[in-house]
């Protein structure tokens, strides 16, 4: 960031950009899928699960430091969802990406906390499901021939990134924080390019693994567990592919549609309906309320600062007494 070259809008949604309804719904979906993934990965990996998942999550996180210069100060990055899916299978990849996105949000503020459910959903679930569907399909089409690995690897990583970006834009549009008719095409087209970088790195990594450790490429394959995930990937891909152009064709954005349906207004007002027409005594006026809030705010800060100063002095006194 410090010397940041041009960087397109990130896919990690910070807090404040999602309506609470959207954030909550995606948390619920994420929790359900991650819980299932934990059970499935437990069944597959047994007691190896904790060390393997932990180290691979750390590896994907560290792998995101790997980049290559493209042109004009931009660079291609690895995201890793596709590699994790191809190598470990969809369920393990969901857990790995959950950990990666969790640490990014919790420790590095790359993505919000309330928005973390959405971020895990977009990159860890949609990205993984789409990758799995495309890669498996390519492998099936290619039979035993190795081009399925390479073409499938490239295409699945590329499409995974694009569809993750599209669902992100859709969520912002539904939240009313970005106009659908601009955000969806913009996010889509930017990530068509970013996804190429991801696809090429994934391809390079798969080529490396194919020639040095072909056994690793078979781990994700050994399990028949992927059928449900394959269908999920197909369905998600179709839904996003239909919803994105549809949503972006509304001139006033998705939010307008939502308002027409009345659901956004409901969502926004719901928490406050408990106390209809309630008015604080003497605070009917917005300007007055702002002033009062300002005064209270300043007093709060001032009070806390005074408190700290007082506490420190007392501590200092106590230290003096001890010596």
């Amino acid at each position: 960031m410090l010397s940041a070259p041009f960087s397109p809008p990130a896919m990690h949604i910070p807090d404040g950009f999602l309506s609470v309804l959207v954030a909550a719904a995606l948390w619920v979906a994420t929790i359900i899928v991650v819980a299932r993934a934990l059970r499935r990965a437990s069944a597959d990996l047994g007691e190896r699960q904790v060390p393997m998942m932990g180290v691979l999550a750390a590896a994907i996180f560290a792998g995101q430091m790997l980049n290559f210069p493209v042109a004009g100060g931009t660079s291609g990055h690895l995201l890793g969802a596709a590699l994790a899916t191809i190598l470990m299978g969809p369920w393990a990849a969901v857990i790995i990406m959950t950990c990666v996105i969790g640490v990014q949000g919790l420790i590095f503020q790359d993505g919000g906390l309330l928005a973390m459910g959405a971020n895990i959903f977009n990159m860890g679930i949609v990205g993984v499901a789409v990758t799995h569907f495309v890669y498996r399909s390519a492998r099936a089409l290619a039979g035993r021939r190795p081009w399925g690995i390479f073409l499938g690897g490239f295409l699945s990583a590329w499409l995974g990134v694009i569809l993750s970006a599209l669902i992100t834009a859709l969520e912002l549009a539904v939240s009313g924080t970005a106009p659908a008719n601009l955000a969806i095409p913009a996010m889509g087209s930017v990530h068509i390019l970013i996804g190429l970088g991801e696809g090429l790195i994934t391809l390079g990594a798969l080529a490396f693994l194919y020639f040095t450790r072909p056994d690793l490429l078979k781990i994700g394959e050994a399990k028949p567990a992927g059928r449900a995930a394959w269908v999920a990937g197909l369905v998600i891909a179709i839904l996003i592919a239909i919803a994105s152009p549809l949503a972006s064709s509304f001139p006033d954005g998705l939010e307008w549609v939502a308002q027409q349906q009345g659901f956004l207004t409901n969502a926004q007002n719901a928490p406050y309906q408990v106390i209809p027409d309630y008015v604080f005594p003497g605070v009917e006026n917005q300007a007055l309320a702002t002033i009062i809030a300002g005064v209270v705010g300043v007093l709060t800060v001032f009070g806390v600062a005074l408190g700290i100063a007082y506490m420190r002095r007392k501590q200092g006194d106590a230290n003096l007494m001890q010596t």
Binding site: G16, A62, I201
Partner: protein
């Protein structure tokens, strides 16, 4: 995406490859003895989440509530003794995302305040649009500050305890813990790979200098590095598992029970949640 990759956040790009340091400095935790450092991590996590939820729930344009939210986050920054400058500097991380909201200035319908034409299109800014964008930026700004304070005053093991207290699956918490243990080891390995590439002139960041082959070639080299990193981690994972098994690991994650929250902690949670509720009420009243 991945614009804010760890390395970029913490060190200027040209220094990554050169530095021989280990990457422990990535950990944003600042050791200290402030009241916030001493606060029970469970209380901290719950209240930080409540604050961010409150910020998200306040409707657009509730400026009075925003001032209060800002006052709270500012006083907490003072309490944390991190230095407000540090927090504000890191808080700029979320700014690129505001770009996504910027077009709302023109697309939200309402009172027009200015207009300009660009080719065939006429853009008219609306008061409501400006208000919406500023609101989103502000909410996001105070939320990220709270998250920064949480991460900077809480060690990762404490965060793991808070996750357990919030009833996250034991397995997931254990995976998080192991990931954190090896994050810095593998980040070091990634740095070594980058350094090796730089030493072989695989990529020059200087504009105008040779970049070492076509874009596709560069991407393939980076892919090879990623594959290499994964192979090393697989092997490391196997070794770790063997070491754990040798010490009696049987797949069951065992942890010490957490001490119950005391009356003081409950009081703090109650007080914090009450403040959040009051702010929400105020916001509801003034935007009515």
């Amino acid at each position: 995406m991945a614009t804010n990759s760890v390395a970029e956040i913490c060190v200027p790009k040209n220094k990554i490859v050169m530095s021989l340091m280990h990457v422990h400095f990535l950990d944003p935790y600042h050791s200290g003895n402030s009241p916030l450092h001493r606060l029970d991590p469970r209380v901290k996590v719950v209240l930080a989440l409540a604050f961010i939820l409150t910020a998200s729930l306040t409707p657009f344009g509730a400026w009075a509530a925003y001032i209060l939210l800002f006052a709270i986050v500012l006083s907490i920054e003072m309490l944390s003794e991190l230095g407000i400058r540090y927090v504000l500097k890191r808080a700029f991380l979320a700014t690129p995302f505001v770009l996504a909201a910027l077009p709302l200035i023109f697309t939200v319908q309402g009172t027009p305040i200015a207009a300009f034409t660009l080719g065939a299109w006429t853009f008219s800014m609306t008061l409501e649009g400006v208000e919406r964008v500023l609101s989103i930026a502000f909410k996001s700004w105070v939320s990220v500050q709270m998250a920064i304070v949480l991460a900077a005053t809480t060690t990762f093991p404490e965060l793991l305890n808070a996750m357990r207290a919030l009833r996250l699956p034991k397995l997931l918490v254990a995976i998080f813990g192991l990931m954190w243990r090896y994050l810095f080891v593998l980040a070091d390995e990634a740095l070594r790979l980058l350094r090796a590439r730089a030493a072989r002139s695989g990529a020059s960041r200087e504009p105008g200098r040779a970049r070492g082959g076509s874009v596709v070639w560069r991407a393939r080299v980076t892919g090879g590095m990623a594959g290499n990193l994964l192979v090393r981690s697989f092997e490391r994972g196997d070794r770790i598992y063997a070491a754990m098994a040798a010490r009696g690991y049987d797949g069951e994650v065992r942890t010490f029970p957490l001490p119950p929250l005391g009356a003081r902690q409950w009081l703090m949670i109650g007080a914090g949640l009450t403040i959040c509720l009051v702010i929400l009420l105020l916001a509801a009243v003034i935007t009515r």
